[in-house]
């Protein structure tokens, strides 16, 4: 597990998947750390699945959402299948109101569903 304390972004490896958990605040510095944790995990760590868990994020504006999508697209360019999980209903309502571009985004409510549908393989060695 790699953690960047100040910005509340946590990257966890589950088999071939990298689960990046976002904290409450998505300010500029957090987004920077998030980008690094996600892309380095895919490129150097060899994760083929990137799941971003936003269930702990209470607010997200269209700008932050756009930045988040860009990172998912970058991970896609690096060859990873991507998924956003746990978006709060309030955030979704807001994004719809702002007419945010959500086409083509993979999203799920629960982490287990996301990992299953992306074909993430849990490590069986007990590690």
């Amino acid at each position: 597990m790699s953690e960047v304390g100040a910005s509340h972004v946590t990257g966890t490896r589950v088999g071939n998947a990298l689960v990046v958990t976002l904290g409450r605040d998505l300010g500029g510095a957090t987004m920077e750390h998030f980008t690094r944790v996600a892309l380095e995990g895919v490129q150097q760590g060899g994760a083929t699945v990137l799941v971003v868990d936003a269930s702990g994020v209470p607010f997200m504006d269209a700008h932050e959402f756009h930045a988040l999508r860009q990172v998912l697209r970058m991970a896609g360019v690096l060859g990873a299948r991507t998924m956003l999980v746990g978006l709060q209903p309030g955030i979704i309502m807001h994004l719809m109101e702002c007419d945010a571009d959500v086409d083509g985004l993979n999203a799920m409510l629960g982490l287990d569903d996301a990992l299953r549908s992306l074909g993430a393989e849990p490590e069986t060695s007990g590690g």
């Binding site: 956003l84 209903p89 979704i92 999203a107 299953r116 549908s117």
Partner: protein, 297 residues
Amino acid sequence: MASTSIKDTLEKFDLRDADLRRIRAAAPMLVAQLDDFIADFYDWMSKHREYQVFFASNPSRLERVKKLQHANWVTFLQAEIDESWIDARRHVGAVHAHIDLPNEIYFAGMSVSNNLMADRVRALGAKVSEPEETIKSISKLMFLDSYVVIEEIARINREKISASSKALLEMSTPVTPIWEGILLLPLLGILDSHRTQDVMSKTLGKIAETRAKALVLDISGVSAMDTAVANQLLKITKATQLMGCETILSGLSPAIARTLVELGVNIGEVRTTATLRDSFELALKTIGGDRRPAHIG
């Protein structure tokens, strides 16, 4: 009403300390005549239809109301305008709202009360200093009294209306789980942006609660379809996709299909079916595909 706003209100009604002092000075003499005053009031009221409606069949109610009215006029004449004075008037408003008393008879009653009170002040003659000024002061306070009562009646009515429209909105968005992982939402009537907001928030809430993977949106009851309505439906679809829930539109009539195509609405990748049955079949496939064989086998 906080004390500062009571002060503001008194200022608006031009009720100065001098007014209240005059009323208080005349109060003991007027309170002594209250029984007489109330008898005169009911003499007037008995000539009107409302008297029959509210009191004819219930003499004990009349006695009770007379007593309450007596207490009410006592505090009126004491003219100590504070929170409890206002609350007492609000209570009168709440009672009137409860019995649906028409505003017409209430205002007519206050006008009659005002005249009856003025007559009594005049009859007291020299016992009251500045009788005409006192009458004016009582009249101002009478207006304040009616305002507080009517405001409370209006507030209660507003509450009733908003509660019933909320109930109506609640009934108009019945998001129901019909299968494990499948929600059904039959939409009826007109879809505007306000309604879409409500549909969206209810649906998203229900998806979060039930972890549904498919939503069947039956639009056979939607009365009119145009570009705006189609866009609202697309928004709902996109929103549910962000929660990992596939929306399937069902109940598209030939007329609606024709309208959508002629309007050039791009419904993109939204899955649509003509009947609810087909939608349900698609929904079952959707949830089946996401489950391990052990669960569907």
